[in-house]
């Protein structure tokens, strides 16, 4: 006693619209897949765990390991701890135009990290290490803001990011690159 399975009735003009709709969707998905595969445009990701209650005992996030570090091949890494109410160290200096990898862990609750007018953005979830790589196009003084509710002091949770030009960065001696 099931209903007969007749084909769908679709008006010809609506059929054309469905093709337009598919094309629109294909445009967005296509650009995202293209820039994802060929320019490595992705949001941060990758499951790496850490005990947020014992950060000071970890190798990577021990206090004397925090801040900007430059590998022998020139790769720049910034290691930060997010904790109520700041990103530590509170002031960091990096060059413009170069890829910089940020490694961040929370010492307490959920935080969000964002530098306005740039694409440095990530959540910081207790128990997990956040990794995000980006470039800063323009030198300047930027605030590093927390954008996830983390308590009554959330309004005040911010740190300073100084982006210097490539020439200024190269002129800096190794020791003055640390905070």
């Amino acid at each position: 006693m099931s209903s007969s399975s007749r084909p769908l009735h679709i008006d010809p003009l609506e059929k054309k619209w469905l093709k337009v709709a598919f094309a629109l969707i294909a445009l967005f998905v296509g650009v995202i897949l293209y820039t994802g595969f060929f320019q490595h445009v992705h949001p941060p990701g990758g499951m790496e765990t850490i005990d947020s209650a014992a950060l000071h005992l970890s190798e990577e996030f021990a206090e004397d390991r925090l801040g900007v570090s430059v590998a022998p091949d020139g790769a720049i890494k910034v290691t930060l701890v997010a904790a109520r109410y700041g990103f530590y160290p509170r002031s960091i200096k990096v060059p413009a135009g170069r890829p910089i990898t940020f490694r961040i862990a929370s010492a307490d609750v959920l935080h969000g990290l964002h530098v306005p007018m740039t694409n440095l953005a990530t959540m910081v979830v207790p128990g997990y290490i956040s990794t995000v790589t980006t470039r800063f196009p323009k030198p300047g003084e930027y605030p590093l803001l927390c954008n996830e509710y983390c308590g009554m002091g959330h309004d005040h949770m911010w740190s300073q990011l100084q982006v210097v030009s490539q020439e200024d960065w190269d002129a800096l001696t190794p020791s003055s690159k640390e905070p």
């Binding site: 995202i32 992705h42 949001p43 209650a53 964002h114 803001l145 954008n147 509710y149």
Partner: protein, 542 residues
């Protein structure tokens, strides 16, 4: 129709929904004022975050759930022309949800549950907040089951017949809600409540966020589907026309149900506990779910075009002017579509994988959901209330153009509120701050937008009070009308005996498809928390 026995139940749902809405609007105006920093005496993070938490819970969970339940009972009984099945369960469900609401409201208003409507751990609320939230959800399950039961009873009594579209959609929504609410129910029952009670010391915050994300996307379709029922089933006749395509209407609801569920990771793009592979899969799924909305736009606007042409509209766009803009349901639909285009576009930006970094947790996000939910969806809830009020109260709406004023002011207020909000997001302003305290030149650009938003908020408050006034005055003083005059005019169904494809008349196959998609998209991402060693968090105060 012995409906008079359950009209009071339905009215109770609506008054609880709209009363909560009114209170939440007052809180909203307080918030936009406090945020602007215009009145230094008002500054207080404690009061602000308690208000935002209460406002969010009332708007996102209380207004919606009770409206949807009440509207669902009404649509079921009137479109199927049968009495409410298991009315005692319906009353029980209402009571459980109402009790839950009260239980959560007390700590919220006392500032002991300032965890916002997303209640992400490890910031911890008073346990009664979580218990109340759980009860609110459990009460709604009674409704969902009754909808599915009535769907089945009608099909049994009318073998092979086509289920009326409003009920097909309502049942899809009930099934959607049952699937959707499992995520947050697991989080609340197995993590948050035991943790808040002290039975377990730590919970995995990554797992909690993942379970919440399961619910967080499809819940917006739970809210949206009743608005789409207004568009498909009430707007065509109100405009003096007919529904342009019945088949595509059914298909749209099926696609919302099936593709709205397995895509929650677009809320977790910036999170570290999931890989880019699954995020990309959810992103592609999220773009697919644009399709039923694009279909809805065409079908409903085409229905309006036909109605306008019947009234003499000529040329490409003459029909627009010929539509009855003075009919509240038609006006609400037109304004809803305008907000759907802008709000839908914002949603597409949010969904865009890497580009989410530009907007995540900025002011863009509340700008977006106020426009798409507070605007598109809620204005259609207003239309639904105006359409069914005579049926529920036995009285006509009060005379005059007040409903039109109310709808226009809601639209204008929402545009003025949400446009600066989106811009602030692109300028990088974080969400969920109670004041601007950064000592940075970048923030100076933000002030004029905040001031503009106050105007939007005030207009919305006036509109909200006007809405409540219209409903109350009509219920008490509207002209009494005969039952036939108060009937709800659903769009005509296709002629008796017309059959639709079986896949558009039932949900058995679709439930299986959903199960497979959920396993594929959430199976491993949830399992990983149990396969690998993770570190949990204890409760933190705020």
């Amino acid at each position: 129709m012995p409906e008079s026995s359950f009209k009071p139940l339905i009215l109770s749902h609506f008054w609880l929904a709209f009363g909560s809405f009114g209170l939440a609007c007052v809180l909203g105006v307080y918030q936009v004022l406090e945020r602007s920093g215009l009145i230094p005496l008002m500054q207080s993070p404690e009061v602000y975050f308690a208000s935002v938490s209460t406002h969010g819970v009332l708007m996102a969970f209380v207004l919606t759930t009770f409206f949807i339940m009440g509207f669902g009972y009404l649509v079921a009984t009137t479109s199927l022309k049968m009495p409410l099945a298991h009315p005692k369960w319906a009353t029980a469900g209402f009571s459980v949800s109402a009790l839950g609401t009260l239980m959560a409201a007390i700590p919220l208003l006392l500032g002991k549950a300032s965890v916002l409507y997303t209640f992400y751990p490890p910031v911890q609320a008073n346990v009664f907040f979580y218990l109340g939230a759980a009860l609110l959800v459990v009460g709604s399950w009674f409704w969902a089951v009754i909808m599915v039961v009535m769907f089945g009873l009608w099909k049994k009594a009318h073998p092979g017949a086509t289920v009326p579209l409003p009920m097909f959609a309502t049942t899809a929504n009930a099934i959607l809600w049952l699937w959707t609410s499992v995520g947050v129910a697991l989080e609340v029952v197995f993590q948050l409540i035991p943790w808040a009670l002290g039975w377990i010391d730590t919970i995995d915050v990554g797992l909690a966020r993942t379970l919440f994300a399961w619910t967080l996307h499809p819940i917006v379709y739970f809210w949206l589907i009743p608005a789409y029922i207004v568009l498909y089933s009430l707007v065509p006749k109100a405009a003096g026309g007919a529904l342009f395509s019945h088949d595509l209407a059914r298909l749209a609801f099926v696609l919302l149900l099936v593709f709205g569920l397995p895509i929650g990771f677009h809320h977790l793009y910036m999170d570290p506990e999931h890989g880019q592979g699954f995020k990309m899969i959810h992103a592609v799924g999220t773009f697919f779910v644009m399709l039923p909305t694009l279909m809805t736009g065409f079908t409903v606007i085409a229905s309006l075009e036909q109605a306008g042409r019947k009234k003499g509209g000529k040329g490409l766009f003459g029909w627009i002017g010929k539509l009855p803009w003075d009919h509240p349901v038609v006006l609400a639909a037109i304004l809803a579509f305008l907000m759907l285009i802008a709000g839908g576009f914002g949603g597409i930006v949010n969904a865009s994988y890497g580009m989410n970094a530009m907007v995540h947790n900025t002011a863009w996000v509340p700008g977006h959901f106020h426009l798409i939910f507070g605007g598109t969806t809620v204005i259609l809830y207003f239309a639904a209330a105006y359409a069914v009020w005579p049926k529920l109260t036995g009285r006509a709406l009060i005379e005059g153009s007040l409903p039109l004023v109310q709808l226009w002011s809601w639209f204008i207020g929402m545009i003025i509120l949400s446009t600066p909000w989106h811009i602030l997001g692109l300028l990088g302003q974080p969400r969920r701050i109670s004041s601007v305290a950064y000592n940075s030149l970048l923030t100076l650009a933000w002030d004029p937008y905040e001031l503009a938003m106050i105007i939007g908020g005030l207009i919305l408050l006036g509109s909200a009070f006007l809405f409540l006034h219209i409903l109350l005055a009509s219920q008490r003083k509207g002209l009494r009308i005969a039952a036939e005059e108060a009937e709800i005019h659903y769009a005509d169904e296709e002629p008796e005996g017309t059959r639709v494809p079986a896949l558009l008349n039932g949900f058995g196959v679709w439930n299986l498809v959903i199960l497979l998609l959920m396993l594929a998209n959430f199976g491993y991402p949830i399992a990983q928390f149990f396969l690998f060693k993770t570190f949990g968090s204890t409760g933190w105060g705020y």
